[in-house]
């Protein structure tokens, strides 16, 4: 089971995602509400994997991803996105994100993507 950092600007989204991850036995080691927190907490907590929302205030998920990949090239990041953001997801994949999850999501789909990405 993996140590996971959950980054999303919506509290409700974080709660829902945490519920899904914890029920499967993963450990949520930290949470963040914007890109600045994502970068800071990723380097502090060194999680096995981070879920990263694309649209966030202050610094969006793409910019945070670029910073993280430049300092930690092997970082395992799964993007969380709303519908009609496919172009941004492609950019994230090219930057080094492992995979993506589109909201609204099914728990089983989330767990499969996380499992594949952690390996």
């Amino acid at each position: 089971m993996a140590k996971i950092l959950v980054v999303d600007d919506s509290m409700i989204s974080r709660i829902n995602l945490k519920k899904i991850l914890v029920a499967e036995g993963h450990e949520v080691v930290g949470e963040g509400g914007n890109g600045v927190e994502a970068v800071k907490k990723f380097s502090e907590l060194k999680p096995d994997l981070m879920t990263l929302d694309i649209t966030m205030p202050e610094m969006d998920g793409l910019e945070a991803l670029k910073k993280i990949m430049s300092t930690t090239p092997g970082a395992k990041v799964v993007m969380i996105s709303a519908l009609s953001q496919n172009a941004k997801i492609v950019e994230a994949l090219k930057t080094g994100a492992k995979n993506y999850i589109t909201k609204p999501y099914e728990p089983s789909q989330v767990l499969k993507v996380i499992k594949d990405a952690v390996i």
Binding site: M11, I12, I15, S84, Q85, N86, A87, I89, V90, E91, L93, K94, N99, Y100
Partner: protein, 627 residues
């Protein structure tokens, strides 16, 4: 002929069903597994036929098709005349054998058996892809078979084409592509062809994904990239589904596109969707007549008079706009909840226009709002939904001031239609509604509020667990308690809005993130029962209630110091008391906690409230049992 390969290699597993299964089972399967092309029908261990997705939808799409096939055995739907081959048949023979079939069977699965024992099927679609993949090494074979493959491809109801990294379409494509694009596509560029039908995001995704997956980098997972490509595009008013496969072309890698015209299926889905919505509306109309009539009247009144008055009397246009916007939004929600989807959709469009005005309030004038409303006719908004109701329940429905009387016969007919048309999980929700038209357990009445509670919580960005209903059954005739039951909405709304805290606040206070509401029902004696609604929110702030009452002149400053806690809490039941500063849609209608008390008094019951600041609020109601 270079190939000495067995067809067994191509055999795939697809779901199998028994001859005893009904059409409904197949329908459920195809709806659930959208990628599945077809299934095999087994009689014990022996394959006796196949059902291809496309045939299935064609059959049930015909007039009466749905009702004819759904409850009958699938043997009526299956094709028995299916090609069967032994697993050691050479692959090269397959296309020739397949080509000898009639056009209408051309795309059917081929059943593969090994010494009489069923081992799987060959899908022509994947067979073609497999052939295309091996194109280079199979060159000699392919040259001989070009015509037969072309024939196969052209007779398919699918468009096959492949592109290189520059989006140039290769020369081999099937005839269906020409039908789909309504033009010859030879030598065309795919992006030029698709340009009028896709948006900026899709265009960028195509460019970026195709460049990446057909590029040099071998470390990427192409499946993830391909999953981001558009799956459905409307081309010349036809719904076309897009499927993608990476293939190795003689000149390098290529992306194969498989295009299927699914317009008929979409049309059928739309009809089914509408039919289901009609039925849902009729069910609501039967079970919630007074709500529905009140909403219809409320909407008419708002558009005919109230909106005009708000505009005329409002000094501040921002406040006027916000009041009107909120009201339209609430009506939209109410009508949506009552399944009046056509009206709800039109209000949604109106709401969009108002949202633009709200966003640019500086450049909007009151006469702009007035103009917008002059063009809105409430009768026209309601027309379609009302017609759906009166077509089934008769014109009397709208006149009825008393509870609607539905004959047992039409209730049974309605029940049967629900069973035929609606999905099983929804049937389980609706059927008890219909059955309990006569007699209802009060616990179920309370359980019905869960949907609204969740909607309110969602709107307020709060989390609330599903309502916990405890206690013992109390059977009542719902019609006799209609107004009281509706008034309970205000207790739930208050609990979510004012009681239960935002998730972060709850966590800070050492509570679980999700709020919890418990409803308890139990009989007290032969004449009365008790209803308790309890939340674990922040409780009533008695000091604030007192302050508010003082401001509103309900109590004097002398009373402020002498009033005891129980009496202070009681103030929240007064008509003139509201801790909300703005007049909302619901309080504008004159309801609130005072409504609960007055409804209870009408029935001869009573209510009291217990609260602990920080820990929660409990409403305890004693309700008479009416015979």
């Amino acid at each position: 002929m270079q190939i000495k390969e067995n067809v067994g290699r191509l055999a795939q597993h697809v779901p199998t069903f028994s001859v005893n299964d009904s059409g409904k089972v197949i329908h459920a399967h195809f709806e659930k597994d959208q990628d599945n092309e077809g299934v095999v029908v087994m009689d014990g261990e022996t394959p006796v036929g196949i059902i291809m997705r496309q045939d299935f939808y064609q059959k049930i799409g015909k007039q009466y098709g749905f009702s004819i096939y759904m409850n009958r055995p699938i043997t009526l739907l299956m094709k028995e005349n299916v090609m069967k081959v032994e697993a050691d048949t050479e692959v090269a023979e397959i296309s020739l054998l397949a080509m000898n079939r009639n056009n209408e069977h051309l795309y059917d699965f081929i059943i593969v058996i090994d010494n009489g024992k069923y081992i799987g099927i060959v899908s022509i679609k994947y067979f073609l892809i497999d052939l295309a993949k091996k194109r280079e090494e199979d060159f000699a074979l392919l040259r001989d078979m070009t015509n037969s493959i072309k024939n196969l491809m052209d007779n398919a109801d699918q468009g096959f084409l492949s592109i290189n990294s520059q989006f140039a379409i290769s020369d081999q494509y099937s005839r269906e592509c020409v039908d789909i694009f309504s033009q010859e596509i030879s030598g065309s560029n795919l992006m030029t062809l698709l340009d009028p039908y896709i948006n900026d995001d899709q265009r960028e995704v195509y460019n970026s994904v195709v460049e990446t997956i057909l590029g040099e980098d071998n470390t990427i997972d192409e499946r993830i990239y391909i999953s981001l490509l558009p799956k459905e595009i409307i081309i010349n008013e036809k719904y076309i589904s897009f499927d993608y496969k990476l293939i190795d072309d003689s000149s390098g890698r290529a992306l194969m596109l498989i295009l299927t015209n699914i317009t008929d299926k979409k049309e059928l889905e739309k009809q089914m969707f509408e039919e289901r919505n009609h039925l849902r509306l009729i069910v609501k109309a039967v079970t919630n007549q007074s709500d529905l009539l009140a909403s219809i009247e409320g909407l008419k009144e708002f558009f005919r008079n109230t909106a005009g008055e708000i505009i005329k009397n409002g000094a501040d246009k921002a406040a006027v706009l916000s009041e009107i916007f909120r009201t339209v939004h609430t009506f939209k929600g109410d009508l949506g909840h009552l399944r009046m989807m056509n009206a709800s959709k039109q209000l949604h469009e109106l709401e969009d226009k108002l949202a633009i005005m709200v966003a640019s309030v500086e450049s909007t004038s009151l006469s702009d709002i007035e103009q917008l409303f002059i063009g809105v006719d409430p009768e026209a908004i309601l027309e379609k939904d009302i017609a759906i109701i009166t077509n089934t329940l008769g014109e009397d429905y709208l006149q009825a001031s008393e509870a609607i009387t539905v004959s047992l016969e039409s209730l049974n007919a309605l029940e049967q239609r629900i069973k035929d048309i609606l999905p099983a999980d929804e049937q389980q929700k609706i059927l008890p509604e219909i059955r309990k038209l006569k007699c209802t357990d009060f616990k179920e009445v309370l359980a019905d509020f869960d949907e609204s509670v969740q909607n309110i919580a969602l709107r307020l960005e709060k989390g609330v667990d599903a309502l916990e209903i405890t206690g013992e059954p109390v059977l009542i005739d719902k019609n006799q308690y209609g107004s009281y039951i509706r008034s309970l909405m205000h207790i739930f709304r208050n609990a979510v809005d004012h009681g239960i805290e935002a998730p972060d606040e709850r966590v800070d206070n050492g509570k679980s993130e999700f709020g919890h509401i418990v409803c308890e029902v139990k009989p007290l004696d032969v004449q009365r029962f008790m209803v308790v609604i309890r939340d674990d929110g922040k409780g009533v702030d008695v000091e604030r209630v007192k302050e508010k009452a003082l401001q509103k002149g309900i109590i004097t400053s002398d009373q402020l110091n002498t009033i005891n806690e129980a009496h202070a809490i009681d103030l929240i039941f007064r008509d003139d008391f509201s801790t909300k500063d703005t007049v909302s849609m619901l309080s504008g209608r004159g309801v609130g906690l005072s409504a609960v008390r007055s409804e209870l008094h009408k029935l001869g019951g009573s209510i009291m409230v217990k609260t602990e600041f920080g820990a929660g609020t409990e409403f305890i109601m004693e309700v008479p049992l009416l015979s």
